[in-house]
C-alpha cells in the first residue's frame, strides 16, 4: 500500500528565483528571462544570467509556440502518483525563443507525437497556486 505522500504528485514550491515565473503561469504567461546585457534568453529562472552573469534580466512572456525536439512516451510510471496517467508523452520542447523545456502533451493521443511536431502552450491549473505549462499539438 503506497503511503499518502508517495501518491501525491510533486508540486513546485516557488522560491526567490522562481516566484515570478510561477506567478506568471497563474496569470496565463510563460515568462522567459531576457538578459539586457548579452541578450541571452534563459529558462529556468534565477537571479543572474547564466551566460554573462548580469543581474539585468527582464521577464518577457513567451509566444508559447515551439516544436518537439525529442520525446518519450512513458508506459511505466515513475512511482504511484503517475500510475493513472500512463501512457503519457514527455516532451522536450524547443521554444520559438530558443530555450528548451520539459513538459507533457495534453489534448491528443501521446502515441501520435512526432519529432519536430509544432506545439503550443496550454495552461493546466493543478492547484490554487500552481499552473503547469503543458503543450498541445498546434
Amino acid at each position: 500500500m503506497a503511503s499518502e505522500d508517495s501518491v501525491r504528485k510533486p508540486l513546485p514550491a516557488p522560491d526567490a528565483d522562481t516566484v515570478t515565473f510561477w506567478h506568471g503561469l497563474r496569470h496565463g504567461k510563460l515568462l522567459l528571462q531576457h538578459c539586457r546585457r548579452c541578450r541571452n534568453v534563459q529558462y529556468y529562472q534565477q537571479a543572474t544570467c547564466r551566460e554573462c552573469g548580469s543581474d539585468d534580466l527582464e521577464h518577457r512572456p513567451a509566444t508559447g509556440r515551439g516544436k518537439v525536439h525529442s520525446f518519450s512516451v512513458v508506459y511505466r510510471a515513475p512511482g504511484p502518483a503517475f500510475k493513472e496517467d500512463v501512457p503519457y508523452a514527455v516532451l522536450l520542447v524547443e521554444l520559438a525563443e530558443g530555450p528548451r523545456m520539459i513538459s507533457t502533451l495534453t489534448g491528443s493521443d501521446p502515441e501520435d507525437v512526432t519529432f519536430d511536431m509544432e506545439v503550443e502552450l496550454a495552461f493546466d491549473q493543478v492547484s490554487d497556486d500552481i499552473t503547469l505549462p503543458r503543450f498541445r499539438k498546434a
Partner: protein
Amino acid sequence: MSDTSLRGKVAVIGIGLSAVGKVPGRSPLSLAAEAAANALADAGVAKSEVDGVLSSHAFASPFHRFSVAFSEYFGIRPTFSNTLQVSGATAATMFSIGAAAIHGGLANVVLLVAADSLMTGLTPDLALRSLTESRDQQYEMPFGIPVANTFAMTAHRHMREFGTTPEQLAEVAVVHSRHAARTPGAQQSTPITTADVLNSPMVTTPYHKLDCSLISDGGAAFVLTSAEHAKALGISSPIYVLGCGECYTHEHIFLMPSLTTTGAVESSRRAYAMAGYQPSDMDVAGIYDCFTGTVVMMLEDLGFCRKGEGGPFVADGQMSYGGQIPSNTHGGLLSFAHSGMPGALFHFHEVIAQLRGQCGERQVENAALGLVHSLGAGFATNATTVLGTEGTL
C-alpha cells in the same frame, strides 16, 4: 608528461566483489565489507594498512557519510575519506580522486568501496522514487519524468538524427546477455534474442524492459597504492591508472547542449591524452550500459566508431569478441548486475581482471590496455579511466 600527471603513478593492487544479484537480508555496509575483505585478500594487504577510503552513497543505507560508516563497520580509522556523488560517473571519479590523493601524499593505501541493495533493500516503487526525486522539483518532476526518460529522449533523438533502429538497440542487450552467460554469478545469464527485447513491455519509448539495465544488490572494492609501494609489496600484476578525465555539461536534461553528443567526448579525450593512447589502442572496454542506446552513443563518443555509426557498429559484432573493442565482457549493467552507483565498479572489476588475464573463457587475448567509462543523470556526468599493464607504461 609533466611531473603532476597521474599517468602510471598509481596501481590497482586488489579487486573484490561481494555476493551480487539477489542478496536478501544483507545491508549495503555488509556487502561493502565483504567486497573490501576480498579486495584486501586479493592484494595481500592487511586492513590496518588502509589509510584512505572513498565510497559512494547507497540508496538502501541511511548513512549519508557512507565511507565513514563503512570505516567504523570495517574496523579501520582512515586519515583520508569521502563519499562521492556524481551519480553513475562516481565509479571512475573514485579511481581518479584515489589516485590523485595517493600521488598528492594524502594517503598511501586507498580502498575504493561501494555497495547497495536496490533489489531487496528497497521496494520497486522506492527504488524508482530514489532515482526520480533527485531531479528538479520545479521544472522536471511535476511532469513525471523518470531518469530513464531522460536517457530515452537522447536515444530517441539519436534514432531521428542517424537512423538508429530498435533492432540495433536490442542487439546491445543481446550481446550483453551472451557475455553474461559466461560470467559466474551473472544475474541475467540466459541469452536473449532481438525478438525477446522488442516483445518485452515498453517502459518509456524507445526503451522496452529489456533495453533497461537490471536492479540488483551487490558491491565491489579495489585497493590502490603508489607504483613504488606496489613494487615494494611484490604485487605480481599491478594494473596502472594511465589516464583520467571528467566532464559535466548540464544538470537539467533541457540544458543538455546536444542530445546525441555527450560530455564523454571531452572526458575520454582528456583520459586518452593523459594516457598517451588512442581509442584504437584499447584492447577491452567497460562502458556504462544503463540502457541499450547509452552504449550506442558511448561507442561513438569514446572514439570507437564515428558519430551516428554506433548502431551498425554493434550489429556488426564490433563490441564483442573478434570485434574492434570487446566491451562489457561480464555482461554489464544490462545482464551482470546493476546495484546503483556501484554498478560501474563491476565494469572496473572486469576490465582489471581482463588486463590481469584472469577471465578464463571470457578472456580477451593479450589484453593490455583497457578503458572504463561511467556516466550518470541523463549524461549530466561523465568520467573515463584508462588502465594498463606494466608493459603499457
